[in-house]
Amino acid sequence: MSETLPPAAGTTAYRVDELEVVPVGDPAGIDSFQVTDGGDVYRNTSPLREAFAIFAENKLAVASVVVLVLLVAFSFLGPLVYHSAQASSIIRQNQPPSGSFPLGTTPNGRDVLGRLMIGGQSTLEVGFAVAVFATVFGLVYGLVAGYFGGIVDSVLMRIVDALLSIPYLFFVVLLASLVIPNLLLIIGVITAVSWLSTARLVRGEALSLRTLDYVHASEGFGARRWWVQFRHIAPNLLGVVIVNGTLKVADAVLIFAAIGYLGMSVPPPATSWGVMLSSGITNLFDGYWWQLWPPGALIVITVLCVAVLGDGLRDVVERRLQKR
């Protein structure tokens, strides 16, 4: 065997038989190995690849990603393929599932399957948008509180404590009653209660990271406080914050469903799974099961998948923390 490896830019070419492949005992249990020529060591795992490998071990988490992608495709690409009757009509009210209406029709004569796609769009948009906004705002707020420290920190965090002790759904309903609901305002209202726990989490994590050696080292080199906070501490928070942000999607979908039930959601003809579910409840005693179970099932599946995905990401983050 005397093949030569193609030399990458700036590296030496080795013959394969000069190299030794050494399996490495890895706490993550991945088949990782090192390539060594006796002196230098070349590892095959980049941090990102390693993270993927840990994530891929969790089959349930991988499956939930697939399901979530399918749900997004169903909601956003579905209407391009499946053209359904979405005008209200009194001649096809409350029809049971049939060939022309695979999941029946609503009390307004709209096709339920097509309506699920439209409702999915708003539900998923709210879920993801709230998670992103709440995470970004909570991250910045927590870091800023930690950056200033002292009295500013105390005041900022006591405000968070105070807002967190207001039962969030009461706060959401009050805010929603102040505005005429549209999707953007609803995203804002749910974000207003969702960023709080992120801010508290970031604040706590940032405090514990402050005691680590590399932060001391950076401070020893004369780094300014904002540099330490945003260059060293912020990136190391990302893992925990991303896990938290994922679970925020689940919470936001549930809150959106709840305000749909409480009649404070997007007005018709727009809809959401929560609104569809609550109108299904109104007709529960008439036996129109096709209006009730499909939106309910989709909400449960979405929240479940997001929660399982969050657990999978937590595994990745915690394993990497252990290795540090």
Binding site: R158, I159, D161, A162, L163, L164, S165, I166, P167, Y168, L169, F170, F171, V173, L174, A176, S177, L178, A250, L254, A257, A258, Y261, L262, G263, M264, G274, L277, S278, I281, L284, F285, L292, G296, I299, V300, I301, V303, L304, A307, V308
Partner: protein
Amino acid sequence: MTGYILRRLVQSVVVTVLVSIIVFILLHTLPGGLVRAQLGPRASRLAVHDLAVQEGLTKPLPAQYLIWAWHALQGNLGFSYKENQSVASLLGEYLPRTMLLVGAAILLAVAVAVPMGLWQGMRRNRWDDHVMTGTMMALYSMPSFFLGIILIVLLNLDLHAFPSTAVNYGGSPGTDVADLVLPVLTLCLGNVTYFSRYMRSATIDNLLENYVRTAYAKGASSQRVLIKHVFRNSITSTVTMLGLTLPYVISGSLVIEALFDFPGVGLLFWNAAQARDYPILLGVILVVTLATILGNFLADLAYAVIDPRVRYT
């Protein structure tokens, strides 16, 4: 212990004052202001001015806040013109029912979650642990009103066991208990997962502790180790969770009271939201939040009682 309680008390008071300021600010960001909110958009300018003077709204804001806070401290939370009743008397009527609903649901949830979490921790990653975790995840993933509907379908429509509305709750003690069953069960099942999850992970952590190994080495039976050592150490974190989940449980009661027509503050609040009855909305928010802060404080007290380590720091 006194130092710990005192610190927590001061914290609670600070948070309470902040909440009152937040509610006060909300009161003043209302579209058209407090007076318009009470009199409606068609009131004459004179009437608006009279009420503004009468309510002290022409004074500077900090003075208004102090007056409002002083009134609130005396139990005067304003007057609902739509219900033609003072907010305080409405709360006096509705709040005890919600406290009963929330209290019963939490007690039931803890009674289910603690043994279950302990069991799951012992049987970690076995099939029964997975089944229970999966069930809890499914319950968590359900909007509470969907869970309530499933219970209505199972227990009311199919079995005719319990009434699906509690609209007459408070009428007679006999029917009251039956009326409570479905709302309490729904609220409990929706929140049991928070407690069981913590109990499970606390049990797993504690089982790995050295004192557990020592206890086994000294020849203690596994029953004794579990009850004297693992349970005692795991319950503390669950008690802390009790305080922290209170806002979630009370939030849940809003939807559940709306679903079952249960006449508690949640239903009062929801009806007020639809009628834009701001004195009620803000009064309920203030009182419900104070109840949460108080509950948090009590959970911390219980924590100090259960965990001797807190007492000596």
